[in-house]
C-alpha cells in the first residue's frame, strides 16, 4: 500500500488540483455563468505563489493565500467589466482573458521568467495539505448546493427573471461567483506551482481550458460531485488507457465528444436520473389533476360575457 502511495503520489496530487481547477469552472456554470476566468486565475495563483516563494521565501500558506486574494479581486473586477455579457460571448471574453494572462507571463521579464518561466519554488507544501484544503473547499461547496443556498443558485441559472422576482439579487450572485471561481482557480494554480516547484507560460494555454471543461462535461456541471468524477476520470484515465497504447488520446477524445453530445448532464446527471426513475417506479403516485387541461370555459354567464370569454380558448399562446 505504501509503495503504491509513493509511486502514485503525483497522480494523487494531480487529482485534487484538477478537482479545484474544474470547480473553478463548475461554480460559475452552476449559476448559469459561462466563464472560463478560473483558468486565468490558475495562472495568477501559480505565478504569485512561485514568485513569493522564490523571492520572499514566504510560507506556502501565505504564498498561495496571496494568489487567492489577488485572483478573487481580479475576478470581482472582471465581473464588473463583463456584467453585460452572457452565454457564448461571456465564454469567449473570459477565454481571451485567461489566454491573455499567458502572454502577459511570457512578457513579464525577470519577474515571471519570460518564456521559460520560474524554477525552484521549493516549499514545505505537502500532499496532506493539498488534500485537507480540497476537503474543506468541497465541504463548503457542498453546503452551498443545499437548502436555500442551493435553490437560489438554481433559480439564477434556470430563470434569472424569476429569481429577481423572488427577491434574489442576480447581479450580486453573479459577482460572487466570479470571486469564488477566481479563488478556486488560484488555489489550484498556487498548489500546483509549489508542488512541481516550477511554472511556465505553457501552463495556461487553450489546452487547460479544454481540460477543465472536459472534466465537467463528462462528470456533470451541476454539482461539485460532477467535477470530482471528472477529475478522477481524467487524471487516472491515461494510466488505465495504457492498454490501448498510443491511441489513448483518441479514445479520450471519443469519450469527451460522446459525453458532450449525448449525455449533457454528465455521468452524475445520468446516475441521478437513474436513481429518480428507480424511486418513481417504487412510489407510483396516481397522477393527480391530470385531467385534460384547458377545457374551454363554460359559457355560464350572460351572452355577451360568453362572447367576451372567447379569448380564454387561446390562452396558451
Amino acid at each position: 500500500m505504501n509503495a503504491w502511495w509513493v509511486s502514485h503520489l503525483v497522480l494523487v496530487q494531480s487529482t485534487f488540483i484538477s478537482l479545484l481547477l474544474a470547480l473553478s469552472i463548475q461554480v460559475p456554470l452552476r449559476a448559469g455563468v459561462f466563464s472560463f476566468a478560473g483558468v486565468g486565475s490558475y495562472a495568477i495563483g501559480a505565478y504569485t505563489a512561485a514568485i513569493l516563494t522564490i523571492r520572499a521565501q514566504l510560507a506556502p500558506v501565505l504564498a498561495i493565500g496571496a494568489g487567492v486574494v489577488l485572483a478573487a479581486v481580479v475576478g470581482y473586477l472582471l465581473a464588473l467589466l463583463v456584467a453585460r455579457l452572457s452565454g457564448l460571448y461571456l465564454g469567449m471574453a473570459t477565454i481571451s482573458f485567461a489566454l491573455f494572462l499567458g502572454v502577459l507571463a511570457t512578457n513579464g521579464g525577470e519577474l515571471t521568467g519570460g518564456a521559460t518561466g520560474l524554477f525552484g519554488a521549493i516549499s514545505t507544501l505537502t500532499t496532506t495539505h493539498v488534500v485537507a484544503i480540497s476537503v474543506v473547499v468541497v465541504l463548503l461547496l457542498a453546503a452551498s448546493e443545499r437548502g436555500a443556498y442551493g435553490r437560489r443558485v438554481d433559480a439564477v441559472r434556470e430563470d434569472p427573471h424569476l429569481a429577481v422576482s423572488l427577491g434574489i439579487d442576480v447581479t450580486r450572485v453573479r459577482r460572487r461567483v466570479f470571486v469564488v471561481s477566481g479563488a478556486l482557480g488560484a488555489c489550484a494554480g498556487g498548489m500546483n506551482a509549489l508542488l512541481r516547484t516550477t511554472v511556465s507560460p505553457e501552463t495556461v494555454g487553450f489546452h487547460l481550458v479544454v481540460t477543465a471543461l472536459t472534466m465537467i462535461i463528462v462528470g456533470g456541471a451541476l454539482s461539485w460531485a460532477g467535477a470530482a468524477i471528472g477529475a478522477v476520470i481524467f487524471t487516472w484515465l491515461p494510466s488505465v488507457l495504457q492498454v490501448v497504447g498510443d491511441w489513448q488520446l483518441v479514445v479520450y477524445g471519443v469519450l469527451v465528444a460522446a459525453a458532450a453530445v449525448w449525455v449533457p448532464g454528465g455521468l452524475l446527471g445520468l446516475a441521478q436520473d437513474g436513481w429518480r426513475r428507480l424511486r418513481a417506479s417504487r412510489r407510483r403516485v396516481p397522477p393527480e389533476g391530470a385531467a385534460a387541461p384547458a377545457a374551454p370555459v363554460a359559457a355560464d354567464a350572460e351572452q355577451q360575457l360568453a362572447a367576451l370569454g372567447g379569448p380564454a380558448a387561446e390562452v396558451r399562446s
Binding site: 436555500a148 435553490r151 437560489r152 422576482s165 427577491g167 387541461p293 367576451l308 372567447g310 396558451r316
Partner: protein, 268 residues
C-alpha cells in the same frame, strides 16, 4: 434580512387604503408603445382586474409594476414612496410577489423546493444554516401548500405535473413569501373548469383576509365574479375602469374584444 411588516395573515389591515399606485405609466420599445399612460391604484384587501385582448399591454404593465422593464414615463409608488428606481429584486423583500404568464418552475427542484424558493427571502442566516443540516419547512410554506392543495405532490418534479397543477404550485410559491401585494398573470390559463373555480375561490378568500391583488385574466366571467374593480386596456391604453359589470358592458370594451374577435364569434 429585512423583517417586512405583516403578511396577509397579520393584523387586520384597513381595507380600501391605497398601497401601490401607478401614475401615467408608459413603456415604449423603440416606436412600439406597449403601455402608454396607464393610471392604477391597488387598494388593501381588494382585487383589481386587468382586462384586455392579447397584446394589449397587460403583461408589460405587470413587468413595469414589478420593475422588470424600465419605465419610459410615469411614477410608481408603494405606501406613498416612489419605487421607480428600486432594484427589482428589492420588491419581493417589500412584500410584492408575482406569478408569470407561463409556467416557470425550476425543473431540477421538487414541488416542495419550488414552493420554498418563494419563502427563502424571509429566512435569516441562522435558518439557512440550520436547513443545511436538517430539512425544515417554514410555516408560511406549509400554509401556502395547504391553501393551494398541492400537499400530495411535494416530492414530484415539475415535469411530472399536469399544466393546471403546475400553475397551482406557482401560486403556492408566490404565497409562500407572505406577500402584501400579489400580482397574478393569467393564473388559471390552461386549467380545467373545476380548477379555475378553485383558484378563483382561493383568491377571494385571500382578499377577504386582506391580501391586495392584481389579476390579469382572460376568463371574463371569473374576472367579474372575483374582482372588485376592473381596468380594461387596449393597445397599451386604458379604455375603461370601474365596477366589473359596468366595465364589461362598456361599448369601448365590447369593441376592443368583439372588433377583434368578430369573425370568430360569427363562426359559432
Amino acid at each position: 434580512m429585512t423583517a417586512v411588516d405583516g403578511g396577509a395573515a397579520g393584523a387586520a389591515p384597513v381595507t380600501g387604503q391605497a398601497v401601490l399606485e401607478g401614475r401615467d405609466v408608459a413603456v415604449h420599445y423603440g416606436g412600439i408603445k406597449a403601455v402608454d399612460g396607464v393610471d392604477l391604484t391597488l387598494e388593501t384587501g381588494r382585487i383589481l382586474g386587468i382586462l384586455g385582448p392579447n397584446g394589449s399591454g397587460k403583461s408589460t404593465l405587470l413587468a413595469a409594476l414589478t420593475r422588470l422593464v424600465p419605465l419610459t414615463r410615469g411614477r410608481l409608488t408603494l405606501d406613498g414612496a416612489d419605487y421607480g428606481r428600486t432594484p427589482p429584486s428589492r420588491l419581493a423583500h417589500r412584500g410584492i410577489a408575482r406569478t408569470f404568464q407561463t409556467v416557470r418552475l425550476l425543473p431540477d427542484l421538487t414541488v416542495l423546493g419550488n414552493v420554498q424558493l418563494g419563502a427563502d427571502l424571509r429566512l435569516g442566516r441562522g435558518a439557512r444554516l440550520r436547513e443545511l443540516v436538517r430539512r425544515s419547512v417554514p410555516p408560511a410554506v406549509q400554509e401556502a401548500i395547504e391553501r393551494t392543495g398541492v400537499g400530495d405532490l411535494l416530492d414530484l418534479r415539475p415535469g411530472e405535473l399536469s399544466y393546471g397543477t403546475a400553475r397551482k404550485v406557482e401560486i403556492a410559491r408566490a404565497l409562500a413569501g407572505r406577500p402584501r401585494v400579489l400580482m397574478l398573470d393569467e393564473p388559471t390559463a390552461g386549467m380545467n373548469q373545476p380548477e379555475r373555480l378553485e383558484v378563483a375561490g382561493l383568491l377571494r378568500r385571500l382578499r377577504d383576509e386582506g391580501l391586495t391583488q392584481l389579476l390579469v385574466e382572460h376568463d371574463v366571467s371569473m374576472m367579474v365574479d372575483t374582482c372588485d374593480r376592473l381596468l380594461a386596456m387596449n393597445q397599451g391604453r386604458p379604455i375603461a375602469e370601474g365596477a366589473p359589470r359596468e366595465v364589461v358592458r362598456d361599448p369601448a370594451v365590447q369593441e376592443a374584444y368583439l372588433g377583434k374577435r368578430g369573425h370568430r364569434a360569427g363562426d359559432r
